[in-house]
Each structure stands twice: as C-alpha cells, then as structure tokens.
Symmetry: C2
Subunit: 345 residues, 2 copies
C-alpha cells in the first residue's frame, strides 16, 4: 500500500513528531512509504526514506531535499525536468500545533487530499482541553472536574490541593505541573502560561487507575485496540514522553474485567461517533471510585499507538479504505442569473 | 487604508458572498481595496475592481484574470514579468462553508497572512449550530432548546409543534423549514438532510422578539453596534436573505430600554471574549418571557453588518489595528541533539 507520512510542524512537539515518523517507518515495513516534512517555517520537503533519522532534521540536511507545495489534489514538486504530483493518502503524524489543532486538516481538505487524521471540528474538541470538557458535558461522558484560568487574571482556586496544572492546548506533558502546596501554585501557573494563554487546573487524584484505549472507524464499525494500563508514574515528563513516542513493541492487555472494558469502549464510542471519523485516536481514561472519567483525547497518538494493535499494518489499510471525503459543494449561479435576467441584462 | 476582500468559496453561500463583497466595496469607498475571489474549484483570482459585479462570476469572466496562489506571507501572482506578492490584510468575506467553518482561517494562519475574521476554534463553535449550543451551555449563555437528528436515524421528536428544522451547519436559511403539523416533519427533515448530515429541531416560538447586535474587539475593548429589531417575517427565505446581504443603509435602533440593551451586550461579551478576537460578529438574540436567548452567531455577517454601524470605515480601521497574530512556535532540536550527543553520534 502507498502511504505518505506527513510529520514535523511548527509546534512544541516538532521533535516528537520526527521520532513518531521514524517509528512508524519501522512498523509499516511492507508499505510503499514516502515522507513529507513540514519544517518550522511551514515549508514542505520530500524526504529520502533512507535519510529518515533524527539528525537529518536537527542538522537541517532536509533543506537540500526537494521542496513541495500544496496544490489541488496533492503536493507538487517542481524541477528542471517538470512537475511531479505526490498524491498518495496522507497519514497526518504532526503532533501538537498545526497537526492536531485543525490547521493541517483544513489544508488537506481544502486541497482535496485524502488523509488519515482528525477533521477540523474533531481537532478543536480534542486539542484544547477546555473544549474536550465542553464535548464531554454535551454528550454525557464524565470527566475530571476543572477550572480555567486566563493569563493576567487573578487565580482564585476553588479546588483543593494537590492539583495538576496544564496549558489548555499542549500534549506530551509540556508545561504540566503537579502542585501539592498552595505556595507552589503561582510558579506552576506561570510555567503553564509560557505555553498557552489558557490553563486548566484539575484535582490531582492519587492512586488513580489509568487505562488507555485506541480505536478507529472502518466500514461503519469502531475497531478497538487492547486496553493498556500505562506505566505508573505521577506523570511522564517531556523527555520520558519523547521516548514513549518511539514505542513499537506490542504491550499486554490490562488485567481488568470485561465489564470495565465494555464501559471504556462505550465511552470511547460516544466520543468518536460523528466526530472523529477518519482518525485513529487514543482515549486516556481514569477510573475513580468505580467511575470511568475521560482524561484526554489524543487524536494523533504517539506513533499512532501502534503498540496497542496486533496487526498494525492491517489497521492502517482498513482505516485508509474508510476515510470520509471532504464535502464538495457545487457552486451555482441561479440567483445571480435570475436577477440579471429580471433586470434585462 | 489597504485591504483585500476575500470572497466566493465552494459553498451554498457562494453567491451571497459575491453580493456581500460588492456591497462592501460601496461601503469602504475611501479605502484602497483589492479583491481576491475563491472559485468553486478552490482556485484564487485577483479581480479587477472595475469588474466587481455579479455577472463577472456567473459568466466565468474571472477565469481570464490573474490566478494567485497561497504562499508564506501572502498570495503570489506569477507572470512572464516576474512575481508579485499580495500581502495586504485580508477581510474574510466568504460566507458559509470554507469561510465560516475554519478552513480559510487555517489557511491564512498557516501562511502567516493577517486577516479580519473568526479564527478556527471560533469557526467550529459558530458554524455548526450544535457546537454553539455546547458553547452556550459551557459559558452560561441561554439558548433555545434543541434536539439533534442524524441522517438515517429514526426521528423521535420530543419537542411539541410547531418546530423549526435546520441543517446544523448552514446559514442564510438554506434548508430551513417551519413545521406546524407532525405530518410535515419528515419532509422538512429530508429537506434539511439534503444539506447536512446533522439537523437541529427547535421549538418555533411565535411572536418572539428578535434583536441583532454586532460588535468587535479593538484595543482590548468590545465595541458594539446599535441593536436592530429585524423585519418581522416568519423567517427569511434564501432569496430574501440574498437581498439582505446587499444591505447598505444604516438602520434605526430598536426601541427597547437600556436595561435590555445591556443584557444583550453582556451575553454578546460572554460569547465573544477569548473566542472571536479578530472578527466582527453579529449575534442574533430572541427575547422570550423576558429571557434573553442566543439564537445564532454570525461570525462573518452579510456585508459585515455595515448597516448597524454609524462609521463603518472607522470600524474596519480599528479592527485591523487589533488583529491577533498567529502564534509562532520556534522549533528546537534540543532533545534530538542531547540524545545524539549521548549516543556519541
């Protein structure tokens, strides 16, 4: 199968997108893969698959490779010898800003390029944790209590310690702190505000059970991964998450009963249907006092959560066969024509 | 002042965007205006201002004008004599799909072009009426009760007649019906489903008082238009709305007391702040039994609701001076460098 991995992006998660792409290359060995890199200046480059290693980008070696530009139907490569159109299905693997905030989705839809990844509305509701809360409340999925603070606004905390402080829009634990003592709150808020103008504060729940579940829609049915109980640490800092994005070994299912698995799947399905079609997402849940709470939606999980699926190549093939089309409205001039006609023009 | 009007778009509201642009041209007479048209195939053309009339587009005469393409910093025009960059501030005047759904916002942000118009998250929450309801509920602004129906789903109405049936994502009354008798419901739903896979049903409130209020943020403060009580008809059908988009005569303020005006402004401000910065929006309210309900957010109102402002040119100048910048994240390779270094590469 032909597939183009789109990675990079002008975001704080630029590097982990590179790591993710390198990992995916190893996991889709039987595919005919090509690689398009979006650099920090929003330029696109066609990357030689043999050069798919981290130092190609940190050394700016990619700038010597062919530059591409978006065009109706694909990415265009111009050279002295003519024009080549790269129009394979895209796997959007740009984590964080650009990729997960709806920008890349809009670009690909506008230029009529097929892609695996969240559509723009789905991106809005998953990229900003505030809007995930709005969604949960509207569709009846429980989530952790929260308060929102805006930059330059006095903080008047209504949640008791310990709390977790997160920038509204970043993934990969960037800017996240756990605060156990009131006196450390301001510093944690300042840290989070370095990355975002809006910050969420939530109760930090000790000894919470955490479960991750990935899935995607193919042929009208949601296909689930195994449920993983992620490694137990307070939370993963950026460096650990960074390594986490290169995971490629299949993990074992969490040891939980089928009833809980079904409750996780039911919450996942409520979130996914009518919103995330076209994407493989990972939902991270907490279980607190027997209650399932949605913690986070990862609409482009690190290395596509390949390690949660038995046959990852089949997952990508099936998903590619079920991608939603961008809606194409045929423009008409009926009213202008009828009015011009009435005016005798 | 230099300003580029971007209009057209591949949407059901393509024609009214053209009418809107022609009207704006008349209302911004002292400006140095240029015009970029997005056609139904998502191609961009630089339109000769002298040719800004409806038949230029219905006759496809625009195709003889210079084609432009998006590039970092502006729209590029290539000719035999070289390359011209068009990089004025853009006024996004594409109504409906493309313009109001976040696509154009994403494109302009990605390519680092300044623009007046809703940003992508604001577009998600105003374009789809379901998500406007989510927003209202989250920020504590009251709105009309509603039910959502999805295509191919059995309708089991919980709202009593009469009801109003609307496609979730269209403006300009396209696909909207008022249903007074249960037997007409299926036909109304079918009509709405022609335009969208999701449909909202709301109680149709007779003799409701309707008030429209526009506004925008400049220098950290919201500036409001007068409050208009729109002409009283059950609702405007497409043809009437079409004419409505060419309105250019200033209207009179609704005859309501200052207390109600302030309640409308307070609801407007809750909706606008932290979401619609950069845009001039019009909120349409209902007042029912003394209660203010938000009916709809128009993030790109027809001809920019120019008729609600005394000095429309000043409005656009002030708004242009207060546009939010796209956030530019500087990409770093710190982790890749430190890991490569540790590996001795």
């Amino acid at each position: 199968m032909k597939l183009t991995i789109l990675f990079g992006g002008a975001s704080f998660e630029h590097e982990i997108s590179i790591v993710s792409a390198i990992t995916i290359k190893e996991k889709l060995k039987s595919f005919n893969l090509s690689f398009i890199f979006c650099d920090g200046d929003h330029k696109f480059y066609l990357i030689d698959p043999k050069k798919m290693k981290a130092t190609t980008f940190s050394s700016a070696e990619h700038k010597k490779m062919p530059e591409l530009r978006l065009s109706n139907g694909g990415f265009i490569q111009k050279s002295l010898f003519g024009t080549t159109m790269h129009n394979n299905t895209i796997l959007n693997l740009i984590h964080g800003g650009d990729g997960e905030d709806g920008t890349i989705a809009s670009l690909l839809d506008f230029f009529d390029i097929k892609y695996i990844g969240p559509r723009k509305e789905a991106s809005t509701f998953s990229y900003d944790k505030r809007y995930t809360k709005y969604l949960c409340s509207a569709i009846g999925v429980k989530s952790v209590a929260y308060e929102v603070y805006l930059k330059n606004e006095a903080a008047n905390l209504g949640i008791s310690m310990p709390v977790i402080v997160k920038p509204a829009t970043l993934g990969s634990s960037i800017g996240v702190s756990i605060v156990k003592d009131e006196s450390d709150l301001d510093y944690a808020l300042d840290t989070a505000f370095e990355y975002d103008d809006a910050v969420l504060v939530e109760p930090f729940i000790k000894d919470v059970k955490e479960y991750n579940l990935a899935g995607y829609m193919a042929k009208g049915k949601i296909h689930f991964s195994i449920v993983e109980e992620p490694q137990k640490e307070e939370f993963l800092d950026f460096e650990k998450k960074y390594m986490d994005f290169s995971r490629s070994e299949q993990v074992n299912s969490a040891e939980i009963d089928e009833k809980l698995v079904n409750r996780l799947k039911s919450s996942f399905e409520k979130v996914y249907r009518g919103m995330f079609e076209g994407a493989l997402i990972r939902c991270d849940f907490f279980v607190v006092n027997g209650e399932v709470l949605l913690n986070e939606i990862n609409p482009i999980p690190g290395s596509m959560a390949n390690y949660l699926f038995e046959d990852f190549e089949k997952v990508i093939v099936d998903l590619s066969d079920s991608l939603p089309d961008a809606k194409h409205v045929k423009v008409s001039y009926d009213y202008i024509d009828s009015i011009s006609h009435a005016k005798g023009k």
